[in-house]
Point group: C2
């Protein structure tokens, strides 16, 4: 298949943008899938900051990291991603960040990311990007909180200065239910 799924494409873009030794952010650890992907990308000399407000998600991810021998470069942080910048030094930049919004698969569907905090966190991540760095956001407009996130995010990223950022929307548009889509913000 020539057309990649949204999540596959999000990973492919990060793989092009991020290299070994870099600092990157998984803003929504969840099942740890993206955390492990980022840990592989940056390698043992890099650094992944992984955020989740659900302790059980971080615990399960910790186990995965031990099993794959990637604990060294990952710091799991039990805090809201809207506090991202508090966990970096003032002059620290990042090479990339991923937001995979919505609720934890298999978890409590009431515990979903929220428009206000998501928007704040995405803005912080964009501001922290080095030149050529990339923030990717997988948005799920098919549930009420996701629809609000979609609207808030689209308004914010469309307003980003085109001299400084490229903003890509990658979306499958012939599906009856509202499927997830990708937003990618690259600092030029």
């Amino acid at each position: 298949m020539a057309l990649n799924s949204v999540l596959t494409y999000a990973h492919a873009l990060l793989k092009q943008a991020v290299g070994p030794g870099e600092t990157v952010v998984d803003a929504t650890v969840g099942n740890g899938h993206d955390t492990i992907f980022l840990a592989t990308l940056v390698g043992p000399s890099g650094r992944v900051l992984g955020f989740d407000i659900q302790k059980e998600a971080l615990k399960a991810t910790e186990t995965q990291l031990v099993l794959t021998g990637q604990t060294r470069q990952v710091t799991l942080i039990n805090d809201g991603h809207e506090h991202l910048k508090n966990h970096l030094t003032a002059d620290q930049q990042i090479g990339g960040a991923i937001f995979n919004l919505g609720y934890l698969p298999g978890g409590d569907k009431q515990l979903t990311t929220q428009s206000k905090t998501t928007l704040e966190a995405v803005k912080q991540a964009i501001n922290l990007l080095r030149r050529g760095g990339l923030v990717v956001v997988v948005v799920y407009p098919g549930h009420p909180a996701g629809r609000l996130e979609q609207d808030a995010l689209l308004t914010a990223v469309k307003a980003l200065d085109q001299q400084t950022y490229n903003v890509l929307q990658y979306a499958f548009i012939n599906q009856i239910h509202e499927p997830p889509f990708l937003l990618a913000v690259e600092r030029k």
Copy 2:
């Protein structure tokens, strides 16, 4: 840069979908850039049908093909792309097609592709796709005829059955002027 331009990405997708020996279509030959790209993809055992209503565009492309030694696999057709299916046998399928809409760069800006004929041609190309084949359309909504094409095309491709087709929109959304965007239709 991790984020590809619309035209680079259109070519990358076709490269993944189309192989040597296939039949493909350049529905808007113009300066011949895409024709030569397709001729390279399908190789000497393949077949490229190139459409343009402007004779001078076909002449210039013919020269390019001679210079690059790719005349063998290319048939240039001085006809509107809405007659695409007339130039194929009834059971012939295609692996891919490209539409690069608007006017010929450096040519007469009054001579632009038109909503009605574009829509008819795109529909025919989609119907001719083999499984796994891909139609890519680069849309320029920044001029009046382009805006009409955008609206007609979006309505049509959004309505394609998701069981049979994937429809991707790839668009840069933070630019003041309306930049070209990509539609890609893949037969599953």
